[in-house]
């Protein structure tokens, strides 16, 4: 600094001289400097713009891929639902309508019986003969006219007829009673017919309601196949819900697995040693973890074999016989492991008591070694947990499948958001550099305001002279 101010005996003059020199130099290279600034900021602006476009293109590709994944997942899920609905209809038809011929025969028989009974009920016993009244009149006539012989014959006939009438009336009453009895017999048949028809009606209603459900699912399926925006929006939100719900359930399952781990890790030390290490981890801990992971794997295979989940298409595609075998094998392994865990849980309790007793002896507190009366409750509870938790962990397969499927969509959505933000940032940075170039040029010109002002004045004067010259000509 002192050197700069020492080029003349007067520092102020030196400073002024430097200012003039620097300004002159800056003015002389102004054009080049502006071009350099323009080139630098312009290239940065273009680079960021290109990068932003590339990111936008990637974002579009990812969005398309996401859409495809979502639609494929939705299609698959919907197909599964529809397939299941058809299975249910098939089951209903097989179970309830397969015996339709038997039902029909039963109905026909019931109706036949009713018809027969009805026919029998319709048969009316004959009325007493109509000429009885005439005979009565003849009998009366005989008494008036004193025709004793004819009268006695007719009187006999009259008596016989009255007797016959009585017999006919008795037969009539008996027949009526029988008819009523037959009609009474028809009642259970009617009731049976009514019940059968009600059951048929219920089945038909169930089928109808299922057909309505299938119609709805088919409409949604068509929407998915055609890639409608509404379908995508529904699938997307449902995927997010599935993701969070399955993540929550998986967290619970992890909690269960942790408890399971703590139940068997300590007694495992009895089997594999308490201090041996693999890497930085205790072998007993690793062994306990492996048991739990094997249980979860067996649970996954069991669920796959039962066709509840579809994480491994190979298992689902196995022949039914092999699949059933696999169900039994995986279940047996799971059962054995659960039994082993129950045993280990018991061992844990025994070890704990042993350790407590030793500690008490070392403390000199002999009284504390006595075992509590109700300690069997905790032992039983631990054994129960050890046995049940492996089976409970089996059901992890269901949320795991949902989680894996929804994870693809969620990761896609997160990636999409990230790319969108990145694209925006790149565009913003590109614009920042564009305006930074303008700003830098303006800043460069600030110290050159004197020569620039002179230049402008001279330009104006030259312009004025040129105008005067043109007017003079």
């Amino acid at each position: 600094m002192s050197f700069m101010l020492g080029i003349t005996p007067w520092p102020v003059l030196s400073a002024i001289l430097w200012i003039v020199l620097i300004t002159a130099a800056l003015y002389l290279i102004r054009g080049t400097a502006h071009k350099t600034i323009q080139a630098a900021t312009g290239s940065l602006h273009r680079s960021f713009k290109i990068a932003s476009k590339a990111v936008t293109r990637s974002e579009k590709n990812l969005a398309a891929r996401n859409r495809d994944v979502l639609l494929a997942a939705g299609r698959e899920a919907k197909e599964r639902i529809i397939e299941r609905e058809f299975d249910r209809i098939n089951e209903t038809v097989r179970k309830d309508l397969a015996n339709y011929s038997a039902l029909h025969r039963s109905l026909s028989e019931s109706i036949g019986r009713i018809e027969k009974d009805h026919q029998e009920a319709v048969d009316v016993p004959p009325d007493p003969p109509g000429w009885v009244k005439a005979v009565e009149a003849v009998a009366e006539m005989d008494a008036k006219e004193g025709r004793a012989h004819i009268g006695s014959i007719l009187s006999d006939i009259h008596k016989s007829l009255i007797k016959a009438h009585k017999e006919a009336m008795t037969a009539y009453h008996t027949a009526s009673a029988k008819r009523h009895k037959l009609l009474r017999h028809m009642r259970p048949d009617w009731r049976q017919i009514q019940q059968t028809l009600a059951a048929v009606g219920k089945n038909v209603d169930s089928l109808l309601s299922r057909s309505v459900t299938i119609d709805r699912h088919m409409q949604e399926y068509e929407g998915i196949v055609h890639g409608q925006d509404r379908a995508i929006s529904v699938l997307s939100s449902s995927s997010l819900v599935n993701f969070f719900v399955s993540a929550f359930v998986l967290c619970i399952a992890i909690g269960g697995a942790t408890i399971n781990f703590s139940l068997i890790a300590r007694p495992m030390a009895e089997m594999v040693g308490g201090t041996s290490l693999i890497g930085n981890f205790r072998t007993a801990d690793i062994a306990a973890l492996v048991i739990i992971l094997v249980e979860i794997s067996m649970g996954l295979f069991l669920m796959e074999s039962l066709r509840i989940t579809r994480l491994f298409p190979v298992i689902g595609a196995l022949p039914d016989k092999t699949r059933v075998r696999m169900i039994w094998i995986t279940f047996s392994i799971l059962f054995l492991l659960a039994s082993v865990e129950a045993g280990l849980a018991y061992m844990r309790e025994v070890l704990l008591h042993d350790e407590l007793a030793t500690s008490a002896i070392l403390r000199g507190d002999i009284g504390a070694t006595a075992t509590g009366e109700y300690m069997w409750i905790t032992t039983a509870a631990q054994m129960g947990m050890g046995f049940i938790l492996p089976f409970a962990l089996t059901f992890v397969a269901i949320p795991l499948e949902t989680f894996v499927h929804s994870l693809r969509t969620v990761v896609g959505l997160v990636g999409l958001s990230f790319l969108r933000v990145l694209s925006l940032l790149l565009r913003l940075l590109g614009n920042v550099f564009l305006y930074l170039g303008v700003l830098l040029k303006q800043l460069y010109d600030i110290p050159l305001f004197v020569p620039l002002w002179l230049e402008e004045r001279m330009a104006r004067r030259a312009e004025g002279d040129a105008l005067v010259g043109r007017v003079g000509q």
Partner: protein, 212 residues
């Protein structure tokens, strides 16, 4: 997937094959039985029980008496290298505690105090066991009193050992001239640290938390 499997396999193999330093602890406790110090044996038993409760599977613990000639296996009252299985460890600890109780009940006072011999015995024992951490507990007033003919003017190599003096009681002469007591402590500290050992003194037996 194949690469991942290979990577996991490599990590497991490397972790299995790499030589690991032992992490177990070896403790050798020397209990002074000379003169009136036998009256302090109850405290020693307390410390032994506390130490037992702190030790775990594969650790080693031995208790030896300091008497006229302590550089001898015969002076080891109880010793145990704990098993790998927790249930066996518990059994060993109970047996150890019983042996120590029996010793405390029947210990006779010895006429001389050979601390250096005991220290040599402890170093030899722990080196033989090859434990990761080596601790020697000296339950004594640190007043060495050798019988004529016993040569103990030797440097005990204590590199990697921690020597903890416990319950260093003051003698009557220490009360008259405390420099004796302080001098004894300094002398032992010097001997231990000279050969690379670490030295600590714990006189407050209620604060044994930092013992191991």
């Amino acid at each position: 997937m194949r690469n991942l499997f290979l990577a996991i396999l490599c990590v497991v193999l490397v972790s299995c094959s790499s030589e690991t330093t032992p992490r177990n602890t070896g403790v050798f406790m020397l209990v002074d039985t000379s003169g009136t110090y036998t009256e302090e044996l109850d405290k020693a038993e307390q410390i032994i029980r506390y130490t037992l409760s702190k030790l775990d599977a594969t650790d080693t613990f031995a208790v030896a008496r300091i008497d006229t000639g302590s550089f001898s296996e015969k002076d080891i009252v109880a010793k145990a290298s704990f098993d790998d299985r927790p249930s066996a460890v518990n059994r060993q600890k109970r047996l150890f505690a019983q042996q120590v109780s029996d010793f405390v009940a029947s210990a006779d006072p010895s006429p001389y105090t050979d601390i250096t011999g005991g220290l040599l015995q402890a170093v030899e024992f722990l080196n033989e066991k090859g434990t990761g951490n080596k601790t020697i507990l000296i339950f004594s007033d640190l007043k060495e009193d050798l019988e004529d003919g016993y040569i103990r003017d030797i440097d005990v190599q204590l590199q990697g050992f921690e020597v903890i003096a416990l319950n260093v009681t003051k003698l009557r002469s220490d009360n008259i001239d405390p420099r004796e007591y302080l001098g004894r402590l300094e002398e032992w500290q010097g001997r231990v640290e000279k050969t690379g050992g670490e030295w600590r003194v714990i006189n407050d037996l209620d604060g044994l938390e930092g013992l191991l």
